[in-house]
């Protein structure tokens, strides 16, 4: 042990190299975890808060509704069932209707989303999302639109919009409403197609006082994409309580593209880990081989004094172990420190194309970072194991030296 530490101190340049070979992969992995976590959290927050909730109760899919959601003529039985289920933190009724929106000469297909403004305001943070004008109230008969749609329709707050309802299960209706505000949607597609109105306005277009398309829910205690167990439990309880004709869909089913991201994220992280760990292992093998070569005579001496092969192997592995532990520890430390520093400065703001792209996929253009202790330990632990496996080869080579040949070895 003493000899191992002195060897480590003797050739500082090589020790530093080995240390970095362990440190850098750990550091990078912690950082990657940091970005990936916060990207996922960001997507989760913006999608569930603004659009899907954690899950929704909907009428069972029927044929013939096309892109529109199946209509619930009267959702009071579903609401009754909902009241009997524990662990639902928040719920609101919503009516989504495909519609044609015309302002002046311009016409676009849109989704008219009827909401209870007071209920969604605190969850979706609508006050902060407003770019101009005002958010809705329960009694207002106006609508608000995404900024992308406002640009496409060349509209200003105060303009009149004509909405032509096009839900295949509702009667055709047309209403004329004032545009009272423009908001910024978390995702560009939503911003191009979303028109928000009060539930009563939307029901006026559907010509029904009770119609709805979804009951949007938030589950108690769910804070991120990894809280799947609570969500699954709540979904199961709901399914059991609901009468026939309803179904429960969680956020991942409602926004399939996020599932896609989730699915490629893990293999991507794995590939990166393998590449980084592989490079780290190569450096460890190399520096340790050099160190063993350089000490051939010394190892020969130790062997000729009667040290067992296991002893010599243990010597080299101890040396590698000390460096590896230090590297893994400091790598994790530097990685976590970076995450904390980035967060202390409020994240890394993105600009230009990158920011636009992030908005396309529903991620805020400020990169945040966060890691869990498990991820840090996993990164450091996995690298330490890889490095020790890499150290095995040079250690075995040292143990297999013939004492006399090794003693004759000239550098």
């Amino acid at each position: 042990m003493k000899a191992a530490i002195r060897h480590i101190m003797r050739n500082r340049r090589r020790t530093t190299l080995t240390l970095l070979a362990v440190l850098i992969p750990v550091y990078f992995l912690v950082m990657m975890f940091g970005f990936a976590n916060s990207m996922m959290q960001d997507m989760f927050d913006s999608v569930t808060r603004f659009d899907t909730g954690h899950m929704q109760i909907r009428a069972e899919e029927r044929r013939g509704t096309g892109l529109a959601m199946p209509l619930m003529r009267d959702a009071s039985d579903a609401l009754g069932a909902l009241a009997s289920v524990d662990g639902i933190e928040w719920s609101t009724v919503r009516l989504d209707l495909p519609a044609l929106a015309s302002v002046g000469e311009e016409t676009r297909t849109v989704y008219l989303r009827g909401v209870v403004p007071e209920e969604i305001d605190p969850i979706s943070n609508m006050a902060e999302r407003m770019v101009s004008g005002e958010f809705l109230t329960e009694t207002s008969d106006g609508v608000i639109v995404g900024e992308e749609l406002a640009e496409l329709l060349k509209l200003q707050v105060g303009d009149e919009m004509v909405l032509l309802g096009a839900h295949p299960e509702a009667s055709l209706g047309a209403i004329r409403v004032p545009v009272v505000g423009v908001f910024s949607a978390p995702e560009a597609t939503m911003g191009r197609t979303m028109v928000l109105a009060s539930l009563s306005t939307a029901r006026r277009l559907a010509r029904s006082d009770t119609a709805a398309t979804a009951i949007v829910l938030r589950v108690d205690g769910v804070t991120g994409p990894s809280d799947t167990r609570r969500m699954d439990e709540a979904a199961a309880a709901l399914r059991a309580a609901l009468p026939a004709g309803y179904e429960v869909k969680d956020w991942l089913e409602l926004v399939p593209f996020v599932t896609g991201y989730l699915r490629i994220l893990t293999p991507m992280m794995l590939i990166m880990a393998v590449v980084f760990f592989g490079l780290g292992a190569l450096v460890v093998v190399n520096t340790l081989y050099l160190s063993v070569m350089e000490r051939t005579r010394e190892i020969g001496l130790i062997l000729s004094l009667g040290a067992s092969r296991a002893h010599v192997m243990g010597m080299v592995l101890t040396e590698a172990g000390v460096i590896t532990l230090a590297g893994a520890f400091y790598g994790a430390l530097v990685g976590v420190a970076l995450v904390l520093i980035v967060e202390a400065f409020g994240g890394i703001p993105l600009w230009g194309q990158m920011a636009a792209y992030m908005k396309e996929i529903g991620i805020s253009p400020v990169m945040h970072m966060s890691v869990t202790a498990t991820q840090v330990l996993l990164s450091a632990g996995a690298m330490a194991v890889v490095a020790m496996l890499a150290a095995w080869l040079p250690a075995r080579r040292a143990a297999k030296l013939e004492p006399m040949e090794a003693m004759r070895y000239v550098e």
Binding site: R10, L301, L303, S304, L305, G306, A307, S308, M404, M407
Partner: protein, 242 residues
């Protein structure tokens, strides 16, 4: 001499083979070495002195013949068993590069004891004791590169005897030393031989060192040319006194 020899060799031959060149280094050596002997192997360069010492120390195996250490045939031992035997029964002093550079003099001396599994406190006290017996205790905390070649060889002798081996094998331990220092080192070994009964076998070129030995084996061309017992080991003190 006492009845059963410490080491016995029976017609030991060693031929090195490198790239189809065969070098016969030993051509049939039969010897007996006894406890408490202080023996030198002399002979011209290439006569096989080092080869013989390596074979006796279990660092290499003979091509033919057998070596018995305390009656035990060494050819029957595995590589790991040979290592164990070296650790317990053989002390080595090489011509140079005897010490582990990253360990202090005291740690180098105690290293063999550590390998033997002696407890920490005991190995330090034993190492300190032998260093002071050899008059080098003041270097205990120095690293090898900070002390002279003669002092390094003394430390090597200390390390060779600290584990109380059956025999100390030294291959030209004085080759890199000046005459006075060489004499000092041989005297040191001789004192250990007389006072502690340690058995020494050392190879040397230097005929000036030979008056201190009680047995001189001369090798020529890989065979024993001469084997002279000069004085019985125990008679040395009386001879010096008279």
């Amino acid at each position: 001499m006492s009845s059963s020899p410490l080491i016995q060799t029976l017609d030991v031959k060693k031929t090195y083979v490198t790239e189809s060149v065969e070098t016969p280094a030993l051509r049939g050596v039969s010897l007996e070495l006894h406890k408490r002997e202080f023996t030198a192997i002399a002979g011209p360069s290439g006569s096989g002195k080092s080869t013989l010492l390596h074979l006796l120390g279990g660092l290499d195996r003979p091509t033919e013949g057998e070596i018995f250490l305390q009656g035990q045939p060494m050819s029957e031992l595995s590589k790991d068993q040979l290592a164990k035997l070296r650790l317990s029964s053989i002390g080595f002093v090489f011509q140079a590069y005897n010490l582990i550079p990253v360990l202090t003099v005291l740690e180098n001396t105690a290293f063999v004891l550590e390998l033997q599994g002696v407890a920490r406190r005991e190995r330090i006290s034993r190492a300190q004791k032998i260093l002071s017996e050899l008059g080098i205790e003041q270097y205990a905390d120095q690293y090898p590169h900070r002390i002279s070649g003669g002092e390094q060889q003394r430390v090597a002798v200390a390390r060779a005897v600290v584990g109380e081996p059956s025999i100390v094998l030294a291959d030209e331990p004085t080759a890199n030393l000046d005459t006075a220092t060489s004499h000092d080192l041989i005297d040191l070994m001789r004192r250990l031989n007389e006072h502690k009964g340690a058995t020494f076998l050392f190879a040397t070129h230097d005929s000036r060192l030979l008056d201190r030995v009680n047995r001189l084996i001369t090798l020529i061309d890989g065979a024993v040319a001469e084997d002279v017992v000069q004085r019985p080991a125990d008679a040395r003190i009386e001879a010096a006194a008279s």
